[in-house]
Subunit: 153 residues, 2 copies
DNA sequence: TGGAAATAAGGAAAATTGTTCCGTATGGTC
DNA sequence: GACCATACGGAACAATTTTCCTTATTTCCA
């Protein structure tokens, strides 16, 4: 059962994405409605899975995560068992912030956040000892120009 | 003025990352403390920039964003003016969820979320008409295996 | 080691916010 | 045009956040 969204729903989502700490009163005023409809719509969008989660975004640098790598992976193995183990390994490793299976030449891309280059090597060695991969290229981020989870509504 | 974090601070951050909707009472109980110290520490970490923002994460598919591309960019131009215009273009475009300047061969990587392949092409054409880039490779995501903003504390 | 100052904790009060309830309005259907 | 279903706005209630105050704990210096 999917949720059909109207203009008011979208306005509410914009508010929630911009600042998840606003009160219902503030949101209601911003979108030109009142508390009850705003509250009901948020609840429905939560239950319908449009809103996945509510979270706090932390500053990686302040917490000592100064290195960010994008990892491009090619593999020769494509059987179901190998893939299941590979996906599990990625999901279990907290350093992996993003993992996507790709179309084309390169099979997977990861975004990995670690303390430093040495910590990346530890991660890398651990990963390739768990599952065989054909070719790995690591791209080191020098500067995070932009980072957001916002969808353009 | 940086914030020095102790074990209790870290426990609180873990709770906030896991679920940004928990009440102070719940968090206090989970970390083995009471409301006031938890509240004071959250406030300080906010002011100190350790906590960057509080937000709601939405489901891209539910909202019609069914295509996700990682874009690898090489450029020949490296002067300050070009770079300033390029960064501004990236920050201004809401489709761009991530943008990093890289070390080595490839100069930039972007993560771009759009409705479909057609919308990506519109984005791409608009971008290269704004700023000259030498070489662009787009990697299309077939499956989002993992996506989180959590840092492993 | 003793003692004063600074810092952090816990509990309770006050203020704000979230949640429910209900009467009314609105829109769609036959 | 009447009925049903759905959504809205305002008020009442419940829960949470925020502040305040008192008590511990720690730190630092004599």
């Amino acid at each position: 059962m999917s949720v059909r969204l109207d203009e008011l729903d979208r306005k509410i989502l914009v508010q929630l994405q911009q600042d998840g700490g606003r009160s219902l009163d503030e949101i209601a005023k911003a979108v030109g409605s009142s508390k009850t409809p705003v509250w009901n719509r948020i609840r429905k969008m939560r239950e319908g899975g449009v809103i996945k989660q509510q979270t706090y975004v932390l500053d990686a640098d302040s917490l000592g995560f100064e290195a960010c790598f994008f990892v491009l992976i090619r593999t020769s193995e494509h059987d179901a068992d190998w893939q299941a183990r590979f996906l599990k390994a990625l999901r279990d490793r907290p350093e992996v912030q993003e993992a996507h299976r790709l179309a084309g030449d390169i099979d997977y891309i990861l975004k990995v956040r670690v303390e430093n280059a040495r910590a990346y090597d530890v991660f890398y060695q651990a990963l390739i000892s768990e599952v065989k991969v054909h070719n790995v290229t690591a791209l080191l981020s020098m500067e995070e120009i932009k980072s957001t989870t916002m969808l353009p509504l």
